[in-house]
């Protein structure tokens, strides 16, 4: 066997070698920007240079043929430069305004919808799901594909009050992150334990320590060391499952989907906010999750019709009040919406401010 190669511990490469020359030339010298049309940004530099960015949606999980197709387009219109956004959209940049239209046409013809800028519904950030994750409750890629099919017009137009960032996550760890709308798996039953495997697979003290509500304790089952769950205490979060796969939390029927709204990362206007639970108990209905799409579209419709320009989802609801949100959407309000976690009292209404 040949000798193994020692890694070159080089860290991240320098970005400038990959940038379009117009970006390198005007690095740190941009003056302003606008959006000539949905899907297109124009940045103008202090010295007068300008660069047009055309943004398009992708499937994120890309086969090499798709990536090569994007490369062909970049070679044809952008001298071989391309970048991706944090939400897996692709951006083509050119200083030549006359290339914008043919570039858009080429992208659309190749099946990449152009949009995702400004006050549109951006691409849904998501996680690995059944394709690759070891603990997934659903297939984020599938949920996202099905939903983006329904929302593609909102991606291609800037008709929302402000940008809408949607995320999906295949478990409550929520790798998809906070969003104006978050579509997350919510387990509803405690883990089903395969006691024969626990002692061989799981580091039991670490699993016990992982539980956020101290519901797991050591137990002898059929003479073998295992773990048991106090099912009255269990919040069905699934935190024990990654360190202990014999504690199966995923269930084809009881792993449901919940919808959360009003999360926001930025400190723009309001401080950053977490998303809040609005709907749960939706079926994990592969392959197209129609029940999820229905609720998401309902929330988007309501927000679009009622929010003021620049209000993000959470800011809009803060202004109109939660009673009005539930009234307008007709979503049921249940005891599960009332926060019980530590610090949850801060989410109660400690005032005489009432909406009628």
């Amino acid at each position: 066997m040949s000798e193994l190669r020692r890694p070159i511990e080089c860290g991240v490469p320098d970005s400038k070698q990959f940038m379009p020359p117009v970006l390198v030339r005007n690095y740190g010298k941009w003056a302003w920007h606008d959006r000539p049309q949905p899907g297109v940004l124009r940045h103008v530099a202090e010295g007068g240079d300008q660069v047009f960015t055309v943004k398009a949606g992708t499937q994120r999980q890309m086969d090499i043929h798709t990536i090569r197709k994007l490369c062909d387009i970049a070679d044809q219109f952008c001298d071989g430069h391309v970048r991706f956004t944090i939400r897996s959209s692709v951006e083509f940049m050119t200083p030549d305004e006359s290339k914008v239209k043919p570039l858009i046409d080429a992208l659309e013809a190749a099946g990449f919808p152009v949009g995702g800028t400004g006050n549109s519904v951006g691409f849904i950030s998501h996680t690995q799901g059944w394709l690759h994750c070891d603990i997934p409750g659903t297939d984020a890629s599938g949920v996202v594909k099905a939903l983006m099919d329904e929302l593609v017009d909102e991606f291609k137009h800037e008709d929302m009050p402000n940008r809408v960032k949607i995320t999906t996550s295949c478990c409550q760890i929520n790798c998809g992150g906070q969003g104006d709308i978050a579509i997350n798996v919510q387990h509803t039953k405690p883990p089903v334990i395969n006691h024969a495997l626990v002692s061989g697979v799981c580091e039991r003290p670490a699993v016990i320590a992982r539980c956020p509500v101290a519901a797991i304790r050591p137990a002898l089952v059929d003479g073998k060391p295992s773990l048991e769950v106090d099912e009255k205490k269990c919040v069905c979060c699934g935190a024990c499952y990654p360190p202990c796969p014999p504690m199966q939390i995923n269930d084809p029927v009881n792993s449901k989907i919940a919808i959360w709204v009003g999360g926001k990362h930025s400190s723009t206007r309001s401080k950053p906010m977490f998303h809040k639970l609005v709907a749960a108990g939706l079926p994990n209905n592969a392959p197209r999750w129609p029940e999820v799409a229905e609720v998401v579209k309902l929330i988007l419709r309501t927000y679009k019709a009622d929010a003021r320009p620049w209000e993000r989802m959470g800011e809009w609801i803060e202004r109109i009040g939660w009673p009005r949100f539930f009234e307008m959407t007709q979503l049921p309000f249940t005891k599960y919406h009332v926060d019980t976690w530590r610090g949850g009292r801060a989410n109660l209404n400690a005032s005489a401010h009432l909406h009628f």
Binding site: M62, G177, T268
Partner: protein, 416 residues
């Protein structure tokens, strides 16, 4: 020998509709006679269809790595390998892209060629931490694929209880609002932590993210243990002629609705001549008015960074946002960068020494209190770190006079 395409009635449903279909991509990779990934991806499609039918995942983790590193390969072994033997191993290589996700097509094509030869041909651009995810590799192909990617000048990303791959917004490369060089800061900082990325030995993960302003396009505040956000100290720059033009474009009522009324601290007013009145002492650098009036308004000239620490999602104590530990520092000279890197190392060391097993930085601070964290890092206290002072009287204050002396000392040294 090439096998038959599996029947995938449920996945086929995801080939319909206008959005690009990842299923069609998987099928393109499967439907090949002469490439090594053909049978692998046929098998993978079979397993994925099985997941759709049964609503369950069938991957388990394990330990697969490359020579010299202790992290960066996410091992996946199939639990249903007897039914889908050609995809029994489907590991991921996490590779760190250039900050800001910039590529040239030569690089991307080279990556595709490597992955066509050694892997499944499936690449996610990008994972949620910001890695290029080369998904789907047999154990025996991990090292050769890695050797070639590494020879291209790319390095492996983080996984497990170590420093993770960082992410940054587009920054000064294409944004006039960037208050510091996010890409340079990302590169400088993360490349000083390669040992902690490649050989994880922390209580749990640690993430750095870089956003050039309060718009936080890198989602740092909630998704990073250490969020580095651009801000400024002096007055916002106002071009009054452009303000007037914007008032004219929107109409006075809409300008008031969209700009003046939306200022979170009521720091703005519209003058009688349609110029903008800015109370810079009340401005919190939130970026809203600058976002609306991209031509008329700009951050000030005395720019730098604020550092927020402790962001994370639910597990284990509940969601935490990052909170301010450094309200402002310059990031221009080599000394400034060295100071940031030094501070980041102190944050990492304190975390390594004091966090409990599987505890994130934010949870550790919640447990020990922010004041102790600051003391441990030798960071000066600042009123910008709180949204309001304590409301609970259960605190022992017999060190009050000493703390007052310290505060006065800090104040007088700052005044010098």
């Amino acid at each position: 020998m090439s096998k038959k395409m599996p029947s995938t009635p449920m996945l086929d449903e995801l080939e319909k509709g206008p959005w690009p279909s990842f299923v069609s991509g998987l099928k393109r990779l499967a439907d090949t006679e002469d490439k090594p990934h053909g049978n692998l991806m046929k098998s993978l499609l079979g397993q994925l269809e099985h997941s759709y039918q049964t609503r369950k995942g069938y991957w388990k983790g394990g330990t697969v790595g490359v020579f010299g590193y202790g992290a960066g390969v996410i091992a996946r072994f199939s639990e249903v390998a007897s039914q889908y033997p050609d995809s029994s191993e489907f590991h991921t290589l996490r590779i760190m892209p250039a900050p800001g996700f910039f590529y040239d097509t030569k690089t991307l094509r080279q990556m595709c060629d490597i992955w066509e030869e050694h892997g499944s041909g499936l690449i996610a651009l990008h994972g949620q931490s910001g890695d290029i995810m080369f998904q789907g590799c047999r154990t025996d192909q991990v090292q050769p694929a890695w050797d070639k990617l590494n020879e291209m000048g790319f390095d492996m990303g983080g996984a497990g209880a170590g420093v993770r791959t960082a992410a940054s917004c587009v920054g000064p490369a294409r944004c006039e609002q960037a208050c510091f060089d996010t890409l340079e800061a990302h590169k400088t900082l993360i490349n000083d932590f390669t040992d902690d990325i490649h050989r994880p030995s922390l209580p749990y993960k640690m993430k750095f993210k870089f956003s050039g302003c309060a718009n936080d396009c890198a989602n740092a505040t909630q998704r990073a243990d250490v969020a580095i956000l651009g801000t400024w100290k002096d007055d916002m720059q106002v071009n009054q002629a452009e303000v007037k033009a914007k008032v004219k474009q929107l109409g006075r009522k809409e300008f008031i609705n969209q700009v003046i009324r939306m200022c979170p601290t009521q720091a703005l007013g519209l003058n009688d001549d349609d110029t903008l009145d800015v109370d810079n002492k009340s401005c919190v650098r939130c970026m809203h008015c600058i976002n609306v009036c991209t031509k008329a308004l700009k951050p000030g000239k005395e720019r730098g960074i604020a550092i927020l620490v402790g962001g994370k999602r639910t597990l284990k104590i509940g969601d935490l946002l990052g909170t301010v530990v450094v309200p402002f520092m310059k990031l221009e000279t080599e000394e400034d960068y060295a100071a940031l890197v030094d501070l980041a190392h102190r944050m990492l060391d304190f975390f390594a020494d004091n966090a409990l097993e599987h505890e994130r930085t934010g949870e550790m601070i919640e447990r020990i209190g922010l004041a102790n964290y600051l003391e441990g890092l030798d960071l000066p206290l600042d009123v910008n770190m709180i949204s309001q002072p304590r409301t609970n009287s259960y605190v022992r204050t017999d060190g009050w006079d000493e703390e007052v002396r310290k505060w006065n000392e800090t104040k007088s040294s700052a005044a010098e």
